[in-house]
C-alpha cells in the first residue's frame, strides 16, 4: 500500500486564505533533491515558515499552535506553478490528508490524488463559510466523507458535495497508487493476456 487508506476524516483545519499559492511556495526547488519521498514535510512552505537563519516565523499559520489538524484550507488557485510532485508529497508528509480550495491547479490536484491527499474543491461561498467557522473557533471540526463525497462543517451542519474521478476515488479508499491498482488486478491481467497472441 502506497499510503494510508482514506475513508472519512473528522478534523480541525489549518487556514491559509491566500490565493494563487504556487508550488515554489509549497516546497522551494532547493529542497527537491532526495532519494525517497519521506521528509519533505519539514520543508513545506519553507520560506513562509522559517527565517533565513532557520528560526520560525511566528506569524505563519503552521507555527501558530492555535491551529492544527489534517485539513489545509487554501485560497483560490491552490497549487499553481511548476508541476513538481514533491509539492503533494510535502503536504502529505507534513500530515495533511485533505486540502480544501475553491479551485485547484490541475497538475497539483492530480498529483494529490496519486499520492493520498484528497483535494476537496468547494464553492467560493462554502470556502468562505469554512474560513469563518475556523475564525470563530480555531478548533472547529469538519467531516470529509470520501464515500459520500461531502464536506460538512460540524458546528452548523452545513455541507457541500465535491467531485472526484471514480477511479481515483476507488484507489484512495483502498490506499492504492496506480501501480498498486495494477498489481491488485494482476490475476485478471494474466487471464486476459493468456488467450491473446503476443
Amino acid at each position: 500500500m502506497a499510503y494510508d487508506k482514506f475513508n472519512t476524516l473528522k478534523s480541525s483545519a489549518v487556514p491559509l486564505p491566500i490565493e494563487n499559492v504556487d508550488t515554489d511556495q509549497i516546497i522551494p526547488a532547493r529542497f527537491l533533491k532526495a532519494t525517497e519521498r519521506k521528509g519533505f514535510g519539514d520543508n513545506l512552505f519553507r520560506d513562509w515558515r522559517y527565517n533565513s537563519d532557520g528560526t520560525e516565523k511566528k506569524d505563519f499559520v503552521l507555527n501558530n499552535p492555535t491551529y492544527s489538524g489534517k485539513i489545509l484550507v487554501g485560497g483560490k488557485n491552490f497549487g499553481s506553478g511548476s508541476s513538481r510532485e514533491h509539492a503533494a508529497w510535502a503536504v502529505y508528509d507534513y500530515g495533511f490528508r485533505v486540502v480544501v480550495s475553491s479551485f485547484f491547479a490541475d497538475i497539483f490536484r492530480n498529483n494529490c490524488l496519486n499520492i493520498g491527499v484528497l483535494p476537496v474543491q468547494v464553492s467560493a461561498e462554502f470556502l468562505d463559510k469554512i474560513l469563518k467557522a475556523i475564525e470563530a473557533d480555531p478548533k472547529a471540526t469538519f467531516e470529509v466523507s470520501l464515500p459520500e463525497q461531502t464536506i460538512t462543517i460540524e458546528g452548523s451542519g452545513e455541507s457541500e458535495p465535491f467531485d472526484i474521478n471514480v477511479y481515483k476515488k476507488a484507489n484512495m479508499l483502498n490506499g492504492f497508487d496506480d501501480i498498486d491498482y495494477l498489481l491488485n488486478i494482476s490475476e485478471e491481467i494474466k487471464e486476459f493476456a493468456s488467450d491473446r497472441p503476443l
Binding site: 532547493r30 533565513s52 511548476s82
Partner: protein, 174 residues
C-alpha cells in the same frame, strides 16, 4: 503579469486578479504603481532554461552584445539548453563574440530557472531572466525576477539596467 518594456507599471485597479495580490507582488519587487520599468537597475542576467536556451536565443543575445561589453555591476549566467546548443554556439562563432564582450558560457543545466544548484539570486537582488517563472523566491530566497526575452536580457546585460533593446539595435530603414 506582463507589460511592454516601455509601458509603466499599471495601477492596481487596472489589473485582473485582485488588488491585494497585486500590491503584495509590487511590495515583494519593491516597485510602485505607475513606475517606468526603463532604467531600473538590475544585478543578474540569466539567459537559459527550456523556454529560452535554444541556439536562436543565443544568436539573438549575441547579436546585441557583440562589440559591446558586459556592464560591470551585472553577473551574467549564460546557460545553453543542451550540449547540442552548446556545440552550435561554439561552431557558429558566437562564443568568441560573447567572450570578447565579457561573457562566459556555463554547463547546460536548469541553472537559475529554479535555483536548485548554486546559481541563486540573493535576497533583494534583481534578475532579468529568460526563464518563464517568477514566483516569490523562485531564483533563490527573496530573489526578484523580471522575465524577459533574450534581446531584453542582452540589453540589460550591457547597460546594467532595464533597457529597451531597440535603442541599441541598428534599425533597418526602408
Amino acid at each position: 503579469m506582463g507589460i511592454g518594456i516601455s509601458n509603466g507599471i499599471p495601477q492596481a485597479d487596472a489589473v485582473e486578479g485582485g488588488v491585494a495580490t497585486y500590491k503584495k507582488s509590487l511590495q515583494y519587487m519593491n516597485f510602485s504603481e505607475g513606475d517606468s520599468m526603463m532604467g531600473k537597475p538590475i544585478d543578474f542576467v540569466f539567459l537559459g532554461s527550456c523556454t529560452n536556451g535554444r541556439i536562436e536565443d543565443f544568436r539573438l543575445f549575441t547579436s546585441l552584445v557583440k562589440g559591446r561589453s558586459k556592464a560591470p555591476n551585472v553577473t551574467a549566467w549564460l546557460v545553453p539548453g543542451s550540449h547540442q546548443v552548446e556545440k552550435a554556439i561554439k561552431d557558429e562563432g558566437l562564443l568568441a563574440s560573447l567572450n570578447e564582450a565579457g561573457f562566459e558560457l556555463r554547463e547546460p543545466y536548469c541553472s537559475a530557472c529554479l535555483a536548485m544548484n548554486d546559481d541563486k539570486v540573493p535576497a533583494g537582488k534583481y534578475a532579468v531572466s529568460t526563464s518563464n517563472r517568477n514566483f516569490e523566491g523562485r531564483q533563490g530566497p527573496g530573489s526578484r525576477t523580471l522575465l524577459a526575452s533574450p534581446l531584453v536580457a542582452a540589453a540589460a546585460a550591457v547597460t546594467g539596467k532595464v533597457t529597451d533593446p531597440r535603442e541599441l539595435m541598428e534599425l533597418e530603414t526602408a
